[in-house]
Each structure stands twice: as structure tokens, then as C-alpha cells.
Amino acid sequence: MSRQPFSPDEMMTIAAARALRDDDVCFVGIGAPSAACNVARLTHAPGITLIYESGTIGTAPEVLPLSIGDGELCETAVTTVPVPEMFRYWLQGGRISVGFLGAAQIDRFGNINTTVVGDYHAPRTRLPGGGGAPEIASLSQKVYITMKQSRRGFVETIDFFTSFGHGEGGDHRQRLGITTAGPTLLITDLAIWEPDPQSREFTVTSLHPGVTREAVQETVGWTVAFAPGLSETPAPTETELDVLRALKERTRIAHGG
């Protein structure tokens, strides 16, 4: 375990990275998911296959892409396919083991909104929309979500169902004919959440070092459920932090930021 101080954001990325396995085929969303997936690749999961929706399969970028289709994703990929093929053969074909998403709003059942704040037809804030998320959420074998906690993001009721998590909970996915597992992991800057086996409500199963139950509850718009055997997330190791920070630094320089 590291003696270095680390930020909640770093803890989030590293905890998310740890969830990935060497044999995962991961459909990578931009932002926090992309950082986590590449940290996994650069630490314990060198064999992981990272796929970006721009068509790059098995990519291994030196720096984090700013967009979903940066040139380095293609240059370091095993192959790059047309976008229709990506969605038909690779996602719809059932070949993605983990779809990794971020979100603007999430509810307790892992339903996600990245479309609008307010009414769809007269929104207060028009967000970018779903992109690949609706089908990543329904067609990946399972879905991991990573986002920072805030009252604005963790809401009782999302304004729009951009992508379907566990709906109203229970067997709602199955009732819609969705055969995949859906969101099985939510990694935030404060905690790790997993769905309750019955209700499918996301439940805190691990608090990051130094985080209290109260801190988690304060940033969430519903009454948080904590698992009985609540554990503490191991702090980032020296290696994990070094890899993440080096990646971020290379990225900062490359993007002229």
C-alpha cells in the first residue's frame, strides 16, 4: 500500500481498474472509464482487450484519448473496423464482456441519464445524448459504471432513461427481454457499490479509505443502503498511483493542456 497521499479521483480510477480482468473484452466509454481501463492494461491486466466505439479493437494508447476516436487508438489497435461493424458484429454479436460507462445522472438501480436535465421536449439543460450507451447497457455481458458522487448526479429519479440499468429493480431487465446482467458494479470517488441480489438496488459494499457513511449519504439523493459486511477499499499501491499519474502526465503534455 502506498504512503503517498492520493485524491478521491485517483482512488476511483484505480478501484475501477482493479475490477477488470486480463481476459476481459471491454467497450470503453470516454473520460473516467477510459482512464480506468488503461490503468488496468498497464498494471494487472496486460492482456485486456480495449474497444472504443470508433472501431478500434485491442487498442493500447500511450496517452488517454481526448475523444473516442483519437489517432493513437487506431495506430495501436489490433484492427480498426467500420462503425456499423463495431455495433453489429462486436457489440450486438455479444462479444463484449464489460461495457464501461460514465453518466451525468444515475439512480439507485443503475439507470443512467446523459440526455437532458428537465423535460425532453423542453429541457433545462440539453446534454450530449446517449451515443453508444443505450446498446452498451443492454448488450454487454455486464456493465460497470464509474462517476463522481454528487447530489446533482445521484438522484432519486433520473430525468431521462438514456440507458436502462435495472429499471425499477428486481427482474425488470428480464421482463423487457434483456438477457445480459446489466450494471453489476458502480465505482465512485467515495465507494464501491454493487446491486442487491434481489432488489438490484445499488448498495455500498466498500468505502474508500477515510470515507464515512455520512459522506456517502450526503452526496446521494436517496437513502443509501450499506451492505452488512461493509469493507474498506485498499488504498492505491505505489505502482497503481505511479502508473495512473504517469498516464495523466503523458496525456496532459500530449493534449497541450
Partner: protein, 283 residues
């Protein structure tokens, strides 16, 4: 059959007020120069199609040229929202905009169906997704073998499609390499004309047998515009101008700043400025 033309002539020869038009590119090879030419010519009342409308659609919307947009992700990639698009949706400025919103899977399938001459695309999608409730163009068909209900969306068939590509040979065959997105589909789905800007004309494409090559008879016009994808990039020619994407957020955040920027960088310029813009980004 591909004709080599000046960009301005190619645009005025093929694009009309009120057309449905796509300027496709999935982060890579976005035809910025072509869209700027359309803005300069003031061709408006357009229905724009693109999976990932970004800066250049924000610009067309902000200039009031867009009546309707069909899309699946309207953001500034890695940066945030599209502020001119938001202003049009939220405040109707400079004019209200109609939207037809899909998922990427739906749009990609709809492009494929357009290229394939089909009226619709069929795929497994939109399950539990809110768009199915607000977009009447999301329908269903039932598999006559399994009974499974599958999603259906109309094929995309713009009047005119614009793309940017690395190169054309002297006969007018066009090569696209790297992240090829849906550009082949956009060209083949165009009802009236496909217009291609290229980095250069070469004697021999030097293409791998299975490379993405568009035969000359699928294209109406080719215009040579080095740097024509800037601030997007052209694999093998120049990198993405990430700083320009980041800077756009502030420019587009203010109506006056936006108008001033457009005057200076688009309205008062021509296609030839793009070569200069990528000089420092060449790879």
C-alpha cells in the same frame, strides 16, 4: 463519375437550400472545410445528419442554417456540451431546431441500411431506452423465425453527403484509412451527390487490396483541400488539434464571441486557409 472541382463550385453545384445533408466523420476526417464553405454560401434550412455532430455542426446551428438535426451524440468530445446547439434547443436561438435523436447503434445501422438500399435497418436495440418513447421513428419488426421483437429505424438517405479523405488518384478513386467511421456508408447512401475533399491527388493510391476505397463512379465531385479536416485530423497527415476543441467551449459559450469568431475564421476566409492551420500538426 467524380469530377475534380474547386470546393466552392462543388458545393454550389450540388447542395440546395432545404436539403438533407451529412458531413460525416467519426472524430477522424471530419469535413470542416466543406461545411465552412456551405456556411459562407449561406445555404440554409438544412436537415443535418451525423452520428457525432461536434464543432462544425455547432457552427452551422449557430449561424441559423439548420432546421432539423438527426444525431446520436451531440457533444464536444472529451470537452463537454455543444453550446450553440444547446442555445438552439433550449432557447430557440438563432432559430428553433427540430431534433431526431437516436443511439449510435441505431444511426450506424441506419447508415448501413442507406448504403444497402434498404428502407430500414433492423437491430437488437433500444430495450428500456427512453428514446423509444420520444422518437416516433423508432419502431419494431418481429422475427418470423423466432418471434423476437427487434428495433427498426428508417435508413439514412441524405440528398448530399460530404466527407474528407486522405487521397484520390487521378481517375477519382478515393482512399480512406484509419478510423473509417461511417463515411463509406454516407457516400453510398447519398441520393443526389457525394462530395469528397482530399488532402492530395496521387498517381497511385498504393492501397491494400481490402482498404476502404470508394470507386470514382460513386462520387460526384472531389476538391483538393489540404488540412480540410482541421481541427479534426487526417491519419498519416496531421494530428487532431485538441487545443482547438478545448478552446471552442468558451467561444461557443457566448453569442457575440461566437459571431465574431465566425466572421474572422470562417466568413472572411476560404478553403486555402486549412493548409496553414495544420502546419504545426503534421505528423
Amino acid at each position: 463519375m467524380a469530377r475534380f472541382m474547386e470546393l466552392g463550385a462543388a458545393v454550389s453545384a450540388h447542395l440546395r437550400q432545404g436539403d438533407t445533408v451529412a458531413f460525416e466523420g467519426f472524430t477522424h476526417l471530419i469535413p470542416h472545410a466543406a461545411a465552412h464553405e456551405v456556411i459562407r454560401q449561406g445555404i440554409g434550412d438544412l436537415t443535418l445528419i451525423r452520428m457525432t455532430p461536434d464543432l462544425v455542426y455547432d457552427q452551422m446551428i449557430g449561424m441559423g442554417l439548420v432546421r432539423r438535426m438527426i444525431f446520436s451524440y451531440a457533444g464536444n468530445p472529451g470537452v463537454g456540451l455543444l453550446r450553440r446547439f444547446r442555445d438552439a434547443v433550449e432557447n430557440g436561438w438563432p432559430r428553433p431546431i427540430e431534433i431526431e435523436e437516436h443511439s449510435h447503434a441505431a444511426m450506424a445501422n441506419a447508415w448501413e441500411a442507406g448504403a444497402a438500399g434498404l428502407p430500414m435497418a433492423v437491430f437488437r436495440g433500444y430495450k428500456g431506452a427512453g428514446l423509444a418513447g420520444v422518437n416516433p421513428n423508432i419502431r419494431h419488426v418481429t422475427c418470423p423465425f423466432t418471434g423476437e421483437e427487434l428495433a427498426a429505424v428508417p435508413a439514412l438517405r441524405p440528398d448530399v453527403s460530404f466527407i474528407h479523405a486522405q487521397k484520390a488518384d487521378r481517375a477519382g478513386n478515393v482512399l480512406i484509412e484509419g478510423i473509417v467511421g461511417v463515411q463509406k456508408e454516407a457516400v453510398l447512401a447519398a441520393r443526389r451527390a457525394a462530395i469528397v475533399t482530399v488532402e492530395e491527388i496521387v498517381d497511385d493510391l498504393g492501397a491494400h487490396p481490402n482498404a476502404c476505397v470508394l470507386p470514382r463512379w460513386t462520387i460526384a465531385a472531389i476538391a483538393v483541400v489540404p488540412g480540410g479536416a482541421h481541427p479534426s485530423y487526417a491519419h498519416g497527415y496531421y494530428g487532431r488539434d485538441n487545443a482547438a476543441y478545448i478552446a471552442w467551449d468558451a467561444i461557443a459559450g457566448d453569442r457575440e464571441a461566437f459571431r465574431a469568431w465566425m466572421e474572422e475564421h470562417v466568413l472572411g476566409q476560404g478553403p486555402q486557409v486549412f493548409a496553414e492551420r495544420v502546419r504545426e500538426l503534421r505528423t
